[in-house]
Amino acid sequence: MAGGDELKLLGFWGSPFVLRARLALSFKGLSYEYVEEDLKNKSELLLQSNPVHKKVPVLIHNGKPVCETQVIVQYLDEVYGANGRPSLLPVDPYDRAMARFWAAYIDDKLLSSLMMMSMGKTEEEKAEGRKQSSGAVETLEGALKECSKGKPFFGGDSVGYVDVVLGGFVAWVRIIDRMTGLKIFDSSKTPILAAWLERFGSLDAAKAVMPDVQRLVELSKMRQV
Protein backbone atom coordinates (compact mmCIF):
# COMPACT_ATOMS: atom_id res chain seq x y z
CA MET A 1 0.00 0.00 0.00
CA ALA A 2 1.11 3.59 -0.54
CA GLY A 3 3.06 5.28 2.24
CA GLY A 4 1.06 7.06 4.89
CA ASP A 5 -1.54 4.31 5.21
CA GLU A 6 -2.42 4.26 8.89
CA LEU A 7 -4.39 1.58 10.67
CA LYS A 8 -5.35 1.85 14.33
CA LEU A 9 -7.51 -0.55 16.32
CA LEU A 10 -9.22 0.49 19.55
CA GLY A 11 -9.87 -2.60 21.63
CA PHE A 12 -10.11 -4.45 24.91
CA TRP A 13 -7.96 -7.53 25.44
CA GLY A 14 -10.83 -9.60 26.87
CA SER A 15 -13.33 -9.01 24.06
CA PRO A 16 -14.03 -11.83 21.56
CA PHE A 17 -15.20 -9.18 19.07
CA VAL A 18 -11.93 -7.28 19.27
CA LEU A 19 -10.18 -10.64 18.91
CA ARG A 20 -12.02 -11.20 15.62
CA ALA A 21 -10.77 -7.90 14.26
CA ARG A 22 -7.22 -8.71 15.42
CA LEU A 23 -7.42 -12.16 13.84
CA ALA A 24 -8.47 -10.58 10.54
CA LEU A 25 -5.58 -8.11 10.68
CA SER A 26 -3.19 -10.91 11.67
CA PHE A 27 -4.26 -13.33 8.93
CA LYS A 28 -4.06 -10.58 6.34
CA GLY A 29 -0.57 -9.66 7.54
CA LEU A 30 -1.48 -6.04 8.23
CA SER A 31 0.43 -3.71 10.58
CA TYR A 32 -1.54 -1.48 12.87
CA GLU A 33 -1.36 0.45 16.11
CA TYR A 34 -3.31 -1.27 18.86
CA VAL A 35 -4.86 0.94 21.54
CA GLU A 36 -6.03 -0.81 24.71
CA GLU A 37 -9.14 0.89 26.10
CA ASP A 38 -10.16 1.04 29.72
CA LEU A 39 -13.86 0.28 29.27
CA LYS A 40 -14.66 1.99 32.57
CA ASN A 41 -12.92 5.13 31.38
CA LYS A 42 -13.33 5.27 27.61
CA SER A 43 -11.00 7.53 25.65
CA GLU A 44 -12.16 10.66 23.83
CA LEU A 45 -11.02 9.00 20.62
CA LEU A 46 -13.30 6.00 21.19
CA LEU A 47 -16.29 8.15 22.11
CA GLN A 48 -15.77 10.35 19.06
CA SER A 49 -15.08 7.45 16.70
CA ASN A 50 -18.07 5.39 17.77
CA PRO A 51 -20.61 7.87 19.15
CA VAL A 52 -23.55 5.60 18.37
CA HIS A 53 -22.47 2.53 20.37
CA LYS A 54 -19.34 3.71 22.25
CA LYS A 55 -18.02 0.16 21.95
CA VAL A 56 -14.87 -1.62 20.84
CA PRO A 57 -13.56 -2.71 18.41
CA VAL A 58 -13.19 0.42 16.30
CA LEU A 59 -10.88 0.44 13.30
CA ILE A 60 -9.50 3.83 12.36
CA HIS A 61 -8.12 3.94 8.82
CA ASN A 62 -6.30 7.17 7.96
CA GLY A 63 -8.41 8.92 10.58
CA LYS A 64 -11.76 7.49 9.42
CA PRO A 65 -13.55 5.17 11.87
CA VAL A 66 -15.17 1.85 10.97
CA CYS A 67 -17.37 0.26 13.66
CA GLU A 68 -19.04 -3.15 14.21
CA THR A 69 -16.77 -6.18 14.05
CA GLN A 70 -18.19 -7.91 10.98
CA VAL A 71 -18.27 -4.57 9.13
CA ILE A 72 -14.60 -4.03 10.07
CA VAL A 73 -13.54 -7.48 8.88
CA GLN A 74 -15.34 -7.07 5.54
CA TYR A 75 -13.87 -3.57 5.12
CA LEU A 76 -10.33 -4.85 5.71
CA ASP A 77 -10.91 -7.68 3.27
CA GLU A 78 -12.16 -5.28 0.59
CA VAL A 79 -9.52 -2.59 1.02
CA TYR A 80 -6.61 -5.01 1.39
CA GLY A 81 -7.75 -7.56 -1.15
CA ALA A 82 -4.92 -7.29 -3.67
CA ASN A 83 -1.11 -7.56 -3.85
CA GLY A 84 -1.01 -11.17 -2.74
CA ARG A 85 -2.71 -10.55 0.59
CA PRO A 86 -4.89 -13.48 1.68
CA SER A 87 -8.63 -12.96 1.10
CA LEU A 88 -11.02 -13.90 3.85
CA LEU A 89 -14.20 -13.87 1.80
CA PRO A 90 -14.35 -16.12 -1.28
CA VAL A 91 -14.68 -14.72 -4.80
CA ASP A 92 -17.85 -16.48 -5.89
CA PRO A 93 -21.04 -14.56 -4.91
CA TYR A 94 -22.84 -17.70 -3.72
CA ASP A 95 -19.91 -18.79 -1.55
CA ARG A 96 -19.71 -15.26 -0.15
CA ALA A 97 -23.42 -15.39 0.74
CA MET A 98 -22.89 -18.75 2.49
CA ALA A 99 -19.94 -17.34 4.47
CA ARG A 100 -22.00 -14.32 5.52
CA PHE A 101 -24.92 -16.58 6.45
CA TRP A 102 -22.82 -18.75 8.77
CA ALA A 103 -21.12 -15.69 10.26
CA ALA A 104 -24.57 -14.25 11.05
CA TYR A 105 -25.66 -17.62 12.46
CA ILE A 106 -22.65 -17.69 14.78
CA ASP A 107 -23.68 -14.35 16.27
CA ASP A 108 -27.44 -14.88 16.23
CA LYS A 109 -27.52 -18.41 17.60
CA LEU A 110 -24.19 -19.51 19.03
CA LEU A 111 -23.19 -16.27 20.74
CA SER A 112 -26.61 -15.61 22.25
CA SER A 113 -26.92 -19.16 23.59
CA LEU A 114 -23.37 -19.15 25.02
CA MET A 115 -24.17 -15.90 26.78
CA MET A 116 -27.42 -17.32 28.16
CA MET A 117 -25.49 -20.36 29.35
CA SER A 118 -22.72 -18.44 31.12
CA MET A 119 -24.57 -15.35 32.28
CA GLY A 120 -28.15 -16.53 32.68
CA LYS A 121 -29.78 -15.17 35.83
CA THR A 122 -31.48 -18.42 36.77
CA GLU A 123 -30.59 -22.10 36.55
CA GLU A 124 -33.43 -22.57 34.06
CA GLU A 125 -32.03 -19.84 31.81
CA LYS A 126 -28.55 -21.36 31.98
CA ALA A 127 -29.94 -24.81 31.18
CA GLU A 128 -31.86 -23.37 28.21
CA GLY A 129 -28.61 -21.74 27.07
CA ARG A 130 -26.80 -25.07 27.28
CA LYS A 131 -29.54 -26.75 25.22
CA GLN A 132 -29.56 -24.04 22.56
CA SER A 133 -25.79 -23.82 22.29
CA SER A 134 -25.61 -27.57 21.91
CA GLY A 135 -28.05 -27.35 18.97
CA ALA A 136 -26.17 -24.45 17.45
CA VAL A 137 -22.84 -26.27 17.70
CA GLU A 138 -24.33 -29.34 16.00
CA THR A 139 -25.60 -27.17 13.16
CA LEU A 140 -22.17 -25.54 12.84
CA GLU A 141 -20.57 -28.96 12.66
CA GLY A 142 -22.71 -29.61 9.59
CA ALA A 143 -21.80 -26.20 8.20
CA LEU A 144 -18.09 -26.84 8.59
CA LYS A 145 -18.41 -30.20 6.87
CA GLU A 146 -20.25 -28.54 3.97
CA CYS A 147 -18.07 -25.43 3.64
CA SER A 148 -14.70 -27.08 4.09
CA LYS A 149 -15.40 -30.10 1.83
CA GLY A 150 -12.84 -32.11 3.75
CA LYS A 151 -10.31 -29.29 3.92
CA PRO A 152 -9.04 -27.86 7.23
CA PHE A 153 -11.05 -24.63 7.45
CA PHE A 154 -14.47 -23.09 6.70
CA GLY A 155 -12.51 -21.15 4.08
CA GLY A 156 -11.10 -24.38 2.59
CA ASP A 157 -7.33 -24.73 2.46
CA SER A 158 -6.80 -21.44 4.24
CA VAL A 159 -8.52 -19.43 6.94
CA GLY A 160 -11.59 -17.58 5.73
CA TYR A 161 -14.25 -15.20 6.97
CA VAL A 162 -16.20 -17.73 9.03
CA ASP A 163 -13.00 -19.09 10.60
CA VAL A 164 -12.14 -15.56 11.78
CA VAL A 165 -15.68 -14.91 13.06
CA LEU A 166 -15.76 -18.20 15.00
CA GLY A 167 -12.11 -17.72 15.92
CA GLY A 168 -13.05 -14.81 18.14
CA PHE A 169 -14.66 -17.35 20.48
CA VAL A 170 -11.73 -19.77 20.66
CA ALA A 171 -10.42 -18.29 23.89
CA TRP A 172 -13.91 -18.09 25.38
CA VAL A 173 -14.66 -21.72 24.51
CA ARG A 174 -11.43 -22.69 26.27
CA ILE A 175 -12.24 -20.76 29.43
CA ILE A 176 -15.72 -22.28 29.62
CA ASP A 177 -14.00 -25.66 29.43
CA ARG A 178 -11.47 -24.71 32.10
CA MET A 179 -14.04 -23.21 34.46
CA THR A 180 -16.90 -25.67 34.07
CA GLY A 181 -15.42 -28.73 32.39
CA LEU A 182 -18.02 -28.31 29.66
CA LYS A 183 -16.56 -28.85 26.20
CA ILE A 184 -18.47 -26.67 23.77
CA PHE A 185 -16.74 -28.41 20.85
CA ASP A 186 -16.78 -31.95 22.18
CA SER A 187 -14.70 -34.31 20.04
CA SER A 188 -17.17 -37.13 20.65
CA LYS A 189 -20.20 -35.10 19.49
CA THR A 190 -18.71 -32.59 17.03
CA PRO A 191 -15.37 -34.06 15.97
CA ILE A 192 -14.83 -31.78 13.00
CA LEU A 193 -15.30 -28.61 15.06
CA ALA A 194 -13.15 -29.99 17.88
CA ALA A 195 -10.36 -30.65 15.36
CA TRP A 196 -10.90 -27.19 13.85
CA LEU A 197 -10.53 -25.61 17.31
CA GLU A 198 -7.13 -27.23 17.86
CA ARG A 199 -5.96 -26.54 14.34
CA PHE A 200 -7.07 -22.90 14.29
CA GLY A 201 -5.68 -22.21 17.74
CA SER A 202 -2.28 -23.55 16.77
CA LEU A 203 -1.81 -21.26 13.75
CA ASP A 204 0.91 -18.66 14.26
CA ALA A 205 -1.33 -15.82 13.12
CA ALA A 206 -3.93 -16.87 15.71
CA LYS A 207 -1.46 -17.45 18.53
CA ALA A 208 -0.02 -13.99 17.93
CA VAL A 209 -3.25 -12.32 19.07
CA MET A 210 -4.96 -14.91 21.29
CA PRO A 211 -5.44 -13.61 24.85
CA ASP A 212 -4.04 -15.64 27.70
CA VAL A 213 -6.67 -18.15 28.84
CA GLN A 214 -5.74 -17.91 32.54
CA ARG A 215 -6.05 -14.13 32.41
CA LEU A 216 -9.51 -14.52 30.84
CA VAL A 217 -10.53 -16.92 33.60
CA GLU A 218 -9.56 -14.28 36.20
CA LEU A 219 -11.51 -11.63 34.28
CA SER A 220 -14.54 -13.89 34.05
CA LYS A 221 -14.45 -14.60 37.79
CA MET A 222 -14.19 -10.88 38.53
CA ARG A 223 -17.25 -10.14 36.43
CA GLN A 224 -19.34 -12.73 38.22
CA VAL A 225 -18.66 -11.19 41.62
Binding site: H61, V71, V79, Y94, Y105
Partner: protein, 222 residues
Amino acid sequence: MAEKGVKVFGMWASPMVIRVEWALRLKGVEYEYVDEDLANKSADLLRYNPVTKKVPVLVHDGKPIAESTIIVEYIDEAWKGGYPIMPADPYERARARFWARFAEEKCNAALYPIFTTTGEAQRKAVHEAQQCLKTLETALEGKKFFGGDAVGYLDIVVGWYAHWLPVVEEVIGASIVTDEELPLMKAWFDRFLAVDVVKAALPDRDRLVAANKARREQLLSA
Protein backbone atom coordinates in the same frame (compact mmCIF):
# COMPACT_ATOMS: atom_id res chain seq x y z
CA MET B 1 -31.54 -31.32 -15.30
CA ALA B 2 -30.40 -28.39 -13.16
CA GLU B 3 -33.07 -26.04 -11.85
CA LYS B 4 -32.84 -22.66 -13.57
CA GLY B 5 -34.22 -19.25 -12.75
CA VAL B 6 -34.93 -17.18 -9.67
CA LYS B 7 -37.50 -17.98 -7.02
CA VAL B 8 -38.40 -15.98 -3.93
CA PHE B 9 -40.11 -17.67 -0.99
CA GLY B 10 -41.93 -15.00 0.95
CA MET B 11 -44.99 -13.86 2.87
CA TRP B 12 -47.08 -10.98 1.55
CA ALA B 13 -46.90 -8.93 4.78
CA SER B 14 -43.21 -9.39 5.52
CA PRO B 15 -40.96 -6.32 5.36
CA MET B 16 -37.90 -8.55 5.17
CA VAL B 17 -39.19 -10.24 2.02
CA ILE B 18 -39.88 -6.97 0.25
CA ARG B 19 -36.19 -6.05 0.46
CA VAL B 20 -35.40 -8.98 -1.80
CA GLU B 21 -38.11 -8.01 -4.26
CA TRP B 22 -36.91 -4.41 -4.43
CA ALA B 23 -33.34 -5.56 -5.07
CA LEU B 24 -34.38 -7.96 -7.84
CA ARG B 25 -36.61 -5.34 -9.45
CA LEU B 26 -33.83 -2.73 -9.38
CA LYS B 27 -31.66 -5.20 -11.28
CA GLY B 28 -34.49 -6.01 -13.70
CA VAL B 29 -34.35 -9.69 -12.75
CA GLU B 30 -37.46 -11.81 -13.42
CA TYR B 31 -38.46 -14.04 -10.53
CA GLU B 32 -41.16 -16.45 -9.43
CA TYR B 33 -42.74 -15.49 -6.11
CA VAL B 34 -43.96 -18.24 -3.79
CA ASP B 35 -46.23 -16.99 -1.00
CA GLU B 36 -45.90 -19.02 2.18
CA ASP B 37 -48.41 -19.67 4.92
CA LEU B 38 -46.03 -19.37 7.87
CA ALA B 39 -48.30 -21.50 10.04
CA ASN B 40 -48.03 -24.27 7.47
CA LYS B 41 -44.64 -23.96 5.75
CA SER B 42 -44.13 -25.69 2.43
CA ALA B 43 -41.83 -28.67 2.06
CA ASP B 44 -39.80 -26.63 -0.42
CA LEU B 45 -39.16 -23.83 2.07
CA LEU B 46 -38.08 -26.28 4.75
CA ARG B 47 -35.81 -28.03 2.26
CA TYR B 48 -34.21 -24.78 1.06
CA ASN B 49 -33.82 -23.25 4.53
CA PRO B 50 -33.54 -26.06 7.07
CA VAL B 51 -31.43 -23.94 9.45
CA THR B 52 -33.82 -21.08 10.27
CA LYS B 53 -36.91 -22.16 8.27
CA LYS B 54 -37.72 -18.48 7.69
CA VAL B 55 -38.64 -16.30 4.75
CA PRO B 56 -37.30 -14.74 2.62
CA VAL B 57 -35.33 -17.39 0.79
CA LEU B 58 -33.90 -16.70 -2.65
CA VAL B 59 -33.29 -19.71 -4.87
CA HIS B 60 -31.01 -18.96 -7.82
CA ASP B 61 -30.56 -21.80 -10.30
CA GLY B 62 -31.46 -24.24 -7.54
CA LYS B 63 -29.10 -22.79 -4.91
CA PRO B 64 -30.80 -21.30 -1.82
CA ILE B 65 -29.80 -18.23 0.20
CA ALA B 66 -31.45 -17.04 3.42
CA GLU B 67 -31.32 -13.80 5.48
CA SER B 68 -32.66 -10.76 3.65
CA THR B 69 -29.65 -8.43 3.97
CA ILE B 70 -27.33 -11.21 2.86
CA ILE B 71 -29.63 -11.94 -0.09
CA VAL B 72 -29.58 -8.25 -1.12
CA GLU B 73 -25.75 -8.21 -1.17
CA TYR B 74 -25.79 -11.47 -3.14
CA ILE B 75 -28.17 -9.97 -5.71
CA ASP B 76 -25.84 -7.01 -6.14
CA GLU B 77 -22.83 -9.28 -6.65
CA ALA B 78 -24.50 -11.93 -8.82
CA TRP B 79 -25.96 -9.36 -11.23
CA LYS B 80 -22.90 -7.16 -11.16
CA GLY B 81 -23.50 -5.27 -14.40
CA GLY B 82 -26.93 -3.98 -13.42
CA TYR B 83 -28.13 -1.26 -11.08
CA PRO B 84 -25.48 -0.62 -8.38
CA ILE B 85 -27.01 -1.42 -4.98
CA MET B 86 -23.94 -1.29 -2.72
CA PRO B 87 -21.86 1.92 -2.74
CA ALA B 88 -18.75 1.72 -4.90
CA ASP B 89 -16.37 2.99 -2.22
CA PRO B 90 -15.36 0.47 0.50
CA TYR B 91 -15.66 3.09 3.26
CA GLU B 92 -19.18 4.03 2.11
CA ARG B 93 -20.02 0.31 1.98
CA ALA B 94 -18.83 -0.04 5.58
CA ARG B 95 -21.04 2.89 6.60
CA ALA B 96 -24.06 1.45 4.79
CA ARG B 97 -23.56 -1.93 6.48
CA PHE B 98 -23.05 -0.23 9.85
CA TRP B 99 -26.35 1.66 9.59
CA ALA B 100 -28.16 -1.43 8.29
CA ARG B 101 -27.08 -3.35 11.41
CA PHE B 102 -28.03 -0.39 13.62
CA ALA B 103 -31.51 -0.29 12.09
CA GLU B 104 -31.96 -4.06 12.39
CA GLU B 105 -30.62 -4.39 15.92
CA LYS B 106 -31.68 -1.14 17.56
CA CYS B 107 -34.49 0.53 15.61
CA ASN B 108 -36.50 -2.63 14.95
CA ALA B 109 -36.19 -3.61 18.61
CA ALA B 110 -37.33 -0.11 19.63
CA LEU B 111 -40.31 -0.19 17.25
CA TYR B 112 -41.76 -3.52 18.33
CA PRO B 113 -42.85 -2.44 21.85
CA ILE B 114 -44.95 0.37 20.33
CA PHE B 115 -47.09 -2.31 18.86
CA THR B 116 -47.54 -4.30 22.05
CA THR B 117 -48.22 -1.49 24.54
CA THR B 118 -50.85 1.09 25.33
CA GLY B 119 -51.13 4.34 27.25
CA GLU B 120 -48.06 5.66 29.07
CA ALA B 121 -45.96 2.61 28.21
CA GLN B 122 -46.72 3.22 24.55
CA ARG B 123 -45.83 6.92 24.79
CA LYS B 124 -42.47 5.92 26.26
CA ALA B 125 -41.98 3.31 23.55
CA VAL B 126 -42.75 5.86 20.83
CA HIS B 127 -40.24 8.28 22.34
CA GLU B 128 -37.53 5.58 22.46
CA ALA B 129 -38.19 4.61 18.86
CA GLN B 130 -38.03 8.24 17.76
CA GLN B 131 -34.61 8.65 19.41
CA CYS B 132 -33.38 5.60 17.55
CA LEU B 133 -34.77 6.82 14.24
CA LYS B 134 -33.22 10.26 14.84
CA THR B 135 -29.81 8.62 15.07
CA LEU B 136 -30.48 6.74 11.82
CA GLU B 137 -31.71 9.96 10.23
CA THR B 138 -28.21 11.48 10.52
CA ALA B 139 -27.20 9.15 7.69
CA LEU B 140 -29.65 11.02 5.44
CA GLU B 141 -28.22 14.51 6.00
CA GLY B 142 -27.60 16.36 2.76
CA LYS B 143 -28.87 13.50 0.61
CA LYS B 144 -32.01 12.59 -1.31
CA PHE B 145 -31.71 8.93 -0.35
CA PHE B 146 -29.49 6.99 2.06
CA GLY B 147 -27.68 5.85 -1.09
CA GLY B 148 -27.11 9.43 -2.27
CA ASP B 149 -28.86 10.61 -5.42
CA ALA B 150 -30.43 7.22 -5.98
CA VAL B 151 -31.78 4.34 -3.91
CA GLY B 152 -29.10 2.03 -2.51
CA TYR B 153 -28.54 -0.78 -0.04
CA LEU B 154 -29.52 1.14 3.08
CA ASP B 155 -32.69 2.48 1.46
CA ILE B 156 -33.63 -1.11 0.61
CA VAL B 157 -32.92 -2.31 4.17
CA VAL B 158 -34.88 0.41 6.00
CA GLY B 159 -37.31 1.31 3.21
CA TRP B 160 -40.04 -0.80 4.77
CA TYR B 161 -40.46 1.91 7.42
CA ALA B 162 -41.90 4.20 4.72
CA HIS B 163 -44.86 1.90 4.09
CA TRP B 164 -45.19 0.03 7.39
CA LEU B 165 -44.75 2.80 9.97
CA PRO B 166 -47.72 4.84 8.71
CA VAL B 167 -49.73 1.60 8.94
CA VAL B 168 -48.58 1.10 12.55
CA GLU B 169 -49.43 4.74 13.29
CA GLU B 170 -52.96 4.19 12.00
CA VAL B 171 -53.37 0.95 13.99
CA ILE B 172 -52.12 2.38 17.31
CA GLY B 173 -53.63 5.84 16.80
CA ALA B 174 -50.38 7.74 17.47
CA SER B 175 -47.66 9.39 15.39
CA ILE B 176 -44.07 8.22 15.24
CA VAL B 177 -42.47 9.83 12.18
CA THR B 178 -43.60 13.46 12.10
CA ASP B 179 -42.34 16.62 10.41
CA GLU B 180 -41.40 18.02 13.82
CA GLU B 181 -39.52 15.00 15.17
CA LEU B 182 -38.10 13.41 12.02
CA PRO B 183 -38.27 15.87 9.11
CA LEU B 184 -35.55 14.24 7.00
CA MET B 185 -37.01 10.77 7.42
CA LYS B 186 -40.53 11.96 6.60
CA ALA B 187 -39.31 13.62 3.41
CA TRP B 188 -37.36 10.49 2.50
CA PHE B 189 -40.51 8.37 3.03
CA ASP B 190 -42.26 10.36 0.27
CA ARG B 191 -39.30 10.23 -2.12
CA PHE B 192 -38.75 6.51 -1.53
CA LEU B 193 -42.40 5.57 -2.04
CA ALA B 194 -42.42 7.50 -5.33
CA VAL B 195 -39.73 5.23 -6.82
CA ASP B 196 -41.30 2.93 -9.44
CA VAL B 197 -39.77 -0.39 -8.34
CA VAL B 198 -40.64 0.38 -4.73
CA LYS B 199 -44.29 1.10 -5.54
CA ALA B 200 -44.56 -2.02 -7.68
CA ALA B 201 -43.83 -4.41 -4.79
CA LEU B 202 -45.75 -2.84 -1.90
CA PRO B 203 -48.40 -4.97 -0.17
CA ASP B 204 -51.92 -3.56 -0.20
CA ARG B 205 -52.16 -0.93 2.53
CA ASP B 206 -55.72 -1.73 3.64
CA ARG B 207 -54.90 -5.42 3.88
CA LEU B 208 -51.81 -4.57 5.93
CA VAL B 209 -53.81 -2.30 8.27
CA ALA B 210 -56.40 -5.02 8.83
CA ALA B 211 -53.76 -7.70 9.47
CA ASN B 212 -51.86 -5.46 11.89
CA LYS B 213 -55.04 -4.43 13.73
CA ALA B 214 -55.88 -8.09 14.24
CA ARG B 215 -52.33 -8.91 15.35
CA ARG B 216 -52.27 -6.04 17.85
CA GLU B 217 -55.60 -7.12 19.36
CA GLN B 218 -54.24 -10.62 19.68
CA LEU B 219 -51.04 -9.41 21.37
CA LEU B 220 -52.82 -7.05 23.75
CA SER B 221 -55.33 -9.65 24.88
CA ALA B 222 -52.67 -12.29 25.49
